[in-house]
């Protein structure tokens, strides 16, 4: 039997593939790379593209990934795949949107932090709960 290497393809939301392969092809940012068993440790971001696994006996598997990170150790290849297309400007846009939402939500904010008042409110709520529980026991 030919030499194999363990491959894990995972995304933040689920596991996509886990198993053995004879050869792994992945779209690294510097160009497509082919990883054979006992490859030297390597780590590289991936471009959106196709990951191809050579499973031996002429069998192949294809996965489309929208970018991610490739980590290679002599006997394990890990592909951390993104679930969405990532780019600096897109991330930036998402960040600006999150900020805007917060600002909109805070439009009528008063400035100073009043921990004491919030604590008093929580204490009142806790007292209410305690009272209700006491009532329950009495019944």
């Amino acid at each position: 039997m030919a030499m194999t290497i363990h491959v894990d393809i995972v995304s933040a939301e689920e596991q996509i593939f886990s198993g053995l392969a004879e050869m792994v092809y992945a779209p690294a940012v510097m160009g497509e790379v082919g990883i054979a068993p006992r490859h030297t440790p390597l780590i590289s971001p991936l471009k959106p593209g196709e990951v191809r696994l050579d499973l031996g006996n002429g069998k192949e598997e294809f996965f489309f990934i929208s970018g991610g990170i490739l980590e290679v150790q002599p006997h394990v290849v890990t592909i951390l795949s993104d679930t969405a297309i990532r780019a600096d400007d897109l991330d930036e846009a998402a960040a600006i949107e999150a900020k805007k939402r917060a600002e909109a939500a805070l439009a009528d904010q008063h400035s100073d932090i009043d921990i004491a008042r919030a604590r008093a409110e929580i204490a009142a709520a806790a007292a209410q709960i305690a009272a209700i529980q006491k009532l329950k026991i009495r019944r």
Binding site: T40, S44, V72, A98, A105, L106
Partner: protein, 286 residues
């Protein structure tokens, strides 16, 4: 029998409420199972990326990423994960209590703070508190996606990179089991890389194109994955807490109905007794 009719309507309304809480309990139970599945599904990625970051911690890249460098703390950022909806027992309240204690402590140390909130309950709480909220994400639903939180996390990371804040903490609920959820706070940045003790010899990766670019994208994703898993876990906590809360509400409604039924029967009995004695009295008079 004026009182009896009132009691009957009361029983009816409690029964209706019990029906609703019972339905909510069952919905929460099935949603909790699905949330737990998603928690499991997110685990492999989180573990893998933690391992890779751990490797990086034990190797010696020539470039030190800002996320790995500790600096004196003057201002901290807090990412608070809460639910969007209520009726889930003390889940959010417990978290807020812990947050308040922490804020108090920071206040005493002269450390300033600002927050990013995930979930509308947290947004309202911090808003009322008057705390500075620099970004928020809410109404993520029962199936949060990583794209929903990227923006908020990026805001925090950017303000860390620019030196505005010196540490980022994440606070959320930990799913212990259906009955128990624990509030947990942990430090996100500077990254506390768990060193892999099994690695005897030091080896390093080939970084392609260079260590800076690789570390940048890796650490961003690492932190996002930590936040994402916490968000997913919080959904499971929410559903579990709601299920338990609704179960006890349904039980309470049952008790209430039993009591009301007893009062109703007594009332009815005494009305009948009174009627009989009136008839007997009337007959005796004739």
């Amino acid at each position: 029998m004026a009182g009896a009719k009132e009691i009957r309507t009361k029983i009816k309304s409690v029964q209706n409420t019990a029906k609703i809480t019972k339905a909510m309990q069952m919905v929460a139970a099935s949603k909790m199972r699905r949330a737990q599945d998603r928690m499991q599904a997110a685990r492999p990625y989180a573990e893998k990326i933690r391992k890779v970051v751990g490797h990086l911690g034990s190797s010696h890249p020539e470039y030190k990423h800002p996320f790995l460098i500790e600096r004196p703390i003057r201002k901290v950022g807090l990412i608070a994960i809460t639910t969007d909806r209520g009726l889930c027992g003390g889940l959010n309240i417990n978290l807020f209590k812990k947050v308040l204690n922490q804020l108090d402590e920071w206040d005493k140390q002269g450390v300033k703070f600002e927050a990013v909130t995930i979930g509308s309950k947290g947004l309202n709480f911090f808003k009322r508190l008057g705390m500075k909220i620099i970004a928020e994400a809410s109404h993520l639903g029962d199936r949060p996606e990583i794209t929903d939180i990227i923006g908020s996390v990026q805001v925090m990371l950017k303000s860390y990179e620019s030196g505005d804040i010196d540490a980022i903490y994440l606070i959320g609920n930990n799913f212990v089991n259906t009955m128990t959820q624990q509030v947990k706070m942990r430090q996100l940045v500077p990254v506390v890389a768990s060193r892999d003790e099994n690695l005897k010899h030091h080896w390093d990766y080939i970084y392609e194109p260079d260590s800076k670019e690789v570390l940048d994208s890796l650490l961003d994703r690492y932190i996002e994955s930590l936040v994402y898993t916490a968000v997913v876990e919080n959904v499971a906590c929410e559903m579990a807490a709601r299920m338990v809360a609704m179960k006890s509400a349904t039980d309470n409604a049952g008790d209430l109905i039993k009591e009301l039924q007893l009062i109703y029967n007594k009332e009815r009995q005494s009305a009948i007794t009174q009627e009989i004695s009136e008839i007997v009295g009337g007959a005796a008079a004739v």
